[in-house]
Amino acid sequence: MASEKEKDQYDYLFKFIIIGDAGAGKSCLLHQFIENRYKKGSSHTIGVEFGSKIIHVGGRNIKLQIWDTAGQERYRSVTRSYYRGAAGALIVYDITNRDSYNHLVNWLQDARTLARADTSIITVGNKCDMKDKRAVTFLEASRCAQENDILFLETSALTGEGVEDVFIKVARVILNKIEDGLIDPNTMVSGTHTGSQRIGSDSGGEAMSSKTCSC
């Protein structure tokens, strides 16, 4: 991967979780973001899969650790346990599939209750390349997002349109929250992950701890 060299150098580690109905394109979205390629013939996610990428936002290197969950209803009991500690949540729906959009509220509720209280949530209308099959208008979705006080973007995992923006946008929001002192970065990745060990190995760790002191 391209990020191999800079792997060890980041200031913050954000845990992201991608949720949404089955078939909305969550895994493809993730793949497009990480590999900059469309994943052809991708298969179902069973349980959870992981991806990570370091992005540069606001003068900081931020490592995104992305949990890509299985979208099917039956997996929900399992995937619920993966929300914990997520700083960002991507709720993906399929703009050609009205049902997946209708379920948005359920996913939103899950994200609000199960992830961090201050989780930054974005709604992602995927498959925006399939304009002729569109079942959910941009306006409708963005209004809904506004009502729920969450971000909104449309993407195409196929063409890559908007994909990077989604992640950067959320990361920026989180970063702002940190810089405003709304989030303690030390609690950014809670419980299960000890990514901070790695942070400690370079200047990033100091940056982080000094940041903590200042706020």
Partner: protein, 749 residues
């Protein structure tokens, strides 16, 4: 050439006794030794030849430098070396010998070297040892001699040369015959690989201990076969090639030969001998305890067949179609008899063609004649390696006997690409307790068609990627599960069959794997029944409790067997269920190449859920180095190693099978019992004893027998059910099996 890995390792050589047997029916100009006294004749022959025989007097084999190159023997493999000469075999099957100075002493035999097994073991430090089993034989009387251009010697000379061999081993009567039985020698030899220093010590008892038995065997081999058929193979031996360069050959094999075999007309045929060396390798454990240690790509299929036969027999279902079915399945199927308890020794014989093998008692496995030796050898070596936990089974290469020259890639032929066994074995193993009829399948398919819009949405447009079964291609093959295809239809039909479960992601993998081997209707029956088994259905309901307790058991198993790996995974924040769900629910068909996964399927059908855990442990073991080397330091790395990268790493069914049985062997019995209780507790299902053709019958029986019996079921296919079942059914089953066997045997004769 570089393609010859042996040469890389064969820098220094110790040899303990590969010896050549003169055949009675050897070409006329030979004037072979009289029956019963081959030693003398051989000794004389050896003396005539010069270099080799002198060293035989004391029966000691000493290190000799193997020349890197022998004129006229390109790409040779060292067979054996002793003080004054070495034997090597070329890819064409010519056996050459050369003296200590590296001068080629000519061709001993042309065109009939046989190598039928290659096994590479690796210890935890990464040092490797290859074990190869070699026989050298004459072509059958009518066979053509193939003397390649490079051969510089006359046929007559080759006869002489090959006659000289036997002098070596039989003439090793160092007085320790009684005191140091072959098995003891083997024990010592078994420990050899750790240090080169130990090798010298191991050498002498080896040669000496085998002596008496070898004499006996030599005598027997020298006899004219009753059928007037000449023994086709004149020498057997196994060679161990160390990473560090030592080469060992194992004479114990020959003593084993003598202990058992050769009762039959042409007992020199290698079946009995390898069988017996199995017991020798097992270190005072008769072959009976070796069962289940089978490795090799087909072993799991055989074991499945074996179980099925037992079940059929126990259920008194004298399925008349079975013999013919199995015959078609494995060609001239052979019964490989394994003794039931450790006190029994196996004695049997292989008839002149090697096509049938019978033994007085035991349960049966079916082996095609061409592979029986290899299988037996696999068993024994695996058992041998099993005894030494330090060794890791790395790779195995089995070639067919009965082929001229060296066969390297016999494994390819044995890979399960065709799935010929599976299309018969799997439906039998899965059974059809649901009594699904073709009509039901039709009805549900029709329902699915009618109501496509609603339910089909989940099953439609699913794309599944499975890797190509034939490994040689190695590329990915997609099975498109769009709703029009078989796979999609099957899954849709299933959602109508079990609306409470419906379609759950992961099922498509099960369906796709079944469809790889089966036509749609049997595949549907298989899918429904598979999903009906307690463990699979339990998994697919994805109750958090069920997932959790499974993850916990796995965590404990992992912590017990691989504490370092467990720690790395835990520190990375990867909880076992994060990868276990995918592994278990797809029965490993998502994360592994399909030929590897299907081995796990075989075993799962044999032994139930316990196999899934052990396979998981095996995969962790395979990934151990990567995980510990730092790749597993973070969550994503860990997940990647155990996810998409797994396919590359765990691409050898044999290795996985080996690791799997290792994992099972090491697992504490109470944990295995717990796995079974989880499995059985699902839906409060209590197993019905003696049901035939149902998933996990062995596990069920072992579970009923409680913890002590529990450990046995995976490592020993028959053991689980046999230990758990009451004695009378066992007796009945044995009687039925032996009757079945008789009927098959009589067909061949």
């Amino acid at each position: 050439p570089a393609a010859e890995p042996v040469v890389e390792f064969a820098l220094r050589t110790f040899a303990f006794g590969l010896f050549l047997r003169p055949g009675r029916a050897a070409p006329p100009d030979d004037g072979g030794p009289p029956p019963g006294a081959p030693e003398e004749a051989a000794g004389a022959g050896g003396g005539g030849e010069g270099e080799g025989a002198a060293g035989d007097a004391e029966g000691r084999w000493e290190a000799v430098r193997v020349p890197a190159e022998i004129a006229g023997a390109p790409g040779f493999t060292t067979l054996a070396c002793r003080r004054h000469c070495c034997l090597g075999i070329t890819p064409e099957g010519d056996v050459h010998r050369w003296d200590a100075a590296g001068r080629g002493a000519g061709v001993l035999a042309c065109g009939f070297g046989v190598e039928w097994s290659l096994l590479v073991l690796k210890d935890e430090a990464g040092q490797r040892v290859q074990l190869r089993d070699v026989g050298i034989g004459y072509p059958s009387p009518g066979g053509t001699r193939n003397a390649p251009a490079s051969s510089s010697t006359s046929p007559a000379r080759s006869q002489t040369g090959s006659r000289q061999g036997p002098g070596s081993a039989p003439r090793s009567p160092s007085g320790s015959q009684a005191a140091s039985p072959p098995r003891g020698a083997r024990t010592e030899e078994g420990t050899f690989p750790t240090s080169p220093a130990a090798a010298g010590g191991g050498g002498s008892p080896q040669g000496a201990g085998g002596g008496a038995a070898c004499d006996e065997h030599a005598r027997r081999l020298g006899q004219t076969p009753a059928g007037g058929q000449q023994p086709r193979v004149h020498a057997v031996g196994a060679i161990a090639l160390m990473d560090s360069g030592e080469v060992y050959t194992t004479e114990v094999f020959h003593s084993g030969v003598a202990a058992d075999g050769c009762d039959g007309a042409s007992g020199a045929w290698l079946g009995p001998s390898t069988l017996a060396h199995g017991s020798a390798l097992g270190e005072a454990q008769p072959l009976g305890s070796v069962r289940g240690a089978a490795v090799g790509a087909r072993a799991s299929a055989y074991r499945l067949a074996q179980r099925l036969v037992n079940q059929r027999a126990q259920a008194k279902e004298r399925c008349l179609a079975l013999p013919s079915m199995l015959e078609s399945l494995f060609g001239n199927a052979c019964f490989l008899m394994r003794s039931l308890d450790a006190s029994e020794t196996v004695d049997g014989d292989i008839d002149a063609t090697g096509s049938s093998f019978s033994a007085p008692s035991a349960h049966a496995a079916f082996l095609p004649p061409g592979q029986i030796h290899a299988e037996l050898y696999d068993l024994s070596v695996a058992e041998w390696a099993r005894g030494r936990t330090g060794w890791r089974y790395e790779k195995e290469n089995t070639s067919e006997v009965k082929t001229r020259g060296m066969r390297r890639n016999g494994r390819d032929a044995m890979t399960l690409d065709g799935g010929d066994e599976k299309n018969i074995l799997w439906p039998m193993a899965i059974g059809n307790v649901l009594r699904i009829t073709p009509e039901l399948f039709q009805i549900h398919k029709q329902q699915a068609l009618d109501a496509r819009r609603a339910e089909a949405a989940a099953a439609a447009n699913v794309l599944i990627t499975l890797s190509d079964p034939p490994r040689s291609h190695g590329r990915e093959r997609s099975i498109e599960c769009i709703s029009g295809s078989d796979c999609g239809r099957m899954l849709e039909a299933y959602t109508f069959f079990r609306p409470d479960i419906g379609y759950v992601q992961g099922m498509s993998f099960l369906a796709a794997v079944l469809l790889l081997y089966l036509p749609p209707y049997p595949a549907f029956v298989g899918l429904c029944n598979l999903l009906n088994s307690p463990s699979v259905l339990g998994l697919y309901r994805l109750e958090p409790g069920c997932v959790e307790c499974r993850a916990e058991v796995f965590r404990q198993l992992c912590a017990a067997q691989m504490p370092a790996v467990a720690r790395v995974i835990e520190e990375a924040g990867l909880r076992p269920e994060m990868f276990l769900i995918e592994w278990f629910m797809t029965l490993y068909s998502k994360c592994l190449p399909i030929d590897v996964a299907s081995v796990i399927w075989d075993l799962f059908l044999l032994d139930g859920e316990v196999v899934l855990y052990c396979a998981g442990l095996a995969l962790l073991r395979v990934s151990e180095q990567e995980l510990l080397a730092g790749g597993g330091a973070d969550l994503e790395g860990c997940a990647r190693i155990l996810g998409e990268e797994l396919r590359e790493r765990a691409n050898d069914p044999d290795e996985l099978l080996w690791q799997l049985s290792e994992a099972e062997r090491r697992a504490p019995p109470q944990l295995l019992a717990e796995i079974r209780s989880i499995e059985n507790a699902e839906f409060g299902s209590t197993p019905l004893p003696g049901r035939a053709g149902v998933l996990g019958a062995g596990a069920v029986a072992a579970g009923a027998a409680g913890a002590p019996g529990a450990g046995a079921s995976l490592g020993s296919p028959g053991a689980g059910s046999l230990a758990g079942a009451a004695a009378p059914p066992l007796q009945r089953g044995l009687a039925a099996v032996s009757a079945l066997r008789d009927s098959i045997v009589s067909r061949w004769r």
